[in-house]
Symmetry: C2
Subunit: 178 residues, 2 copies
Amino acid sequence: MLCAGWAFRYFQLADGRRQILKFLLPGDLFSAVTIFERTFHFSVKALTEVQVSGFSRSEIRRRCVADPDVQGAIAKSCVTDTHEMTELLTALGQCSAEERIAHLLLHLMPRIAARNVIREQRYPFPLRQQHIADAVGLTPVHVSRVLGLFRERRLLELSEGHLRVINAAELERLGSLR
Amino acid sequence: MLCAGWAFRYFQLADGRRQILKFLLPGDLFSAVTIFERTFHFSVKALTEVQVSGFSRSEIRRRCVADPDVQGAIAKSCVTDTHEMTELLTALGQCSAEERIAHLLLHLMPRIAARNVIREQRYPFPLRQQHIADAVGLTPVHVSRVLGLFRERRLLELSEGHLRVINAAELERLGSLR
DNA sequence: CGATCGGTTGATATGAATCAACGTGCGTGG
DNA sequence: CCACGCACGTTGATTCATATCAACCGATCG
């Protein structure tokens, strides 16, 4: 479990390409289904300073049968991971660059807001454009252009570790998947 | 659970686009994590004649605590669903059209082989090019071109509900994600 | 002070989408 | 039995979105 800071879970290809599967925020499990496995099938990297706690599989399994709360938390994490992957899959398979980036931001905003006080739509946001690129399957250069467009159209500003959302409605229209 | 025939699970967008999340073969659960939820977050459609059995959530939950085999089957299904989504996500985010299609075929081949006797590398294969397109995020036209290329290069033939693999090694090289 | 990193911008190349036409097989209704 | 419509696949011409290549800028850091 990530206790403090930001990290991300990703899958690495032999030739250096990588797909970011999920951005981890405080309270997130690296991956709930891992409880049922012997080995990890992904990598994790810190984005900021982090604090982490580890549990042994056997310990978790024991507490899972003993404590319905633990069981519920694991189940919930499996469910949300599945939903998130479904949405990301749909975004990658069906959406344009603008839609994908908008979708990523819309996905992250409430998760950030659940852990920080947000004033004037200004979200702490430590991702580099490279990370956005690796998450939505674009090049960093193109991410820069799309963000430039968003800025020009007064949808948002993104710099210096902060995201400021100016026109949330329009961003929603672009990235909501509905 | 799908008992006979082929189907697929997908996510539908308002404007008609859809992302195929998984092809279902006999023995597959539609989605294991659904046990922990109240509503479905996906659609399912048959590709061929199918037979299906349903279970009520409460029944499954009961049998899950009672019978460790049932529990194990659910857990395994969660795990493989997660792996499959991870791989598909990586393919969609990082790979070219050829790689994606090769990857899809490589993913399906062992699953088909586990349920059918395969002679001379000839797999039953009821997907239309439209389904391949919706699964890997391409247009049917482009799928046709790529398959044409594969045929020309003597990698495989695909027609009339059957896939014949001619050069498995080369297909592997294209689509293995490693 | 130079080196490095992250981001921006311009020019160009390329992979995939789009538009359109055509062929073929098949089921259906006359 | 035939004519038609329709689903599916193929192919060619063209367009468009995104990648690639390259230069540059500012901030940061040793």
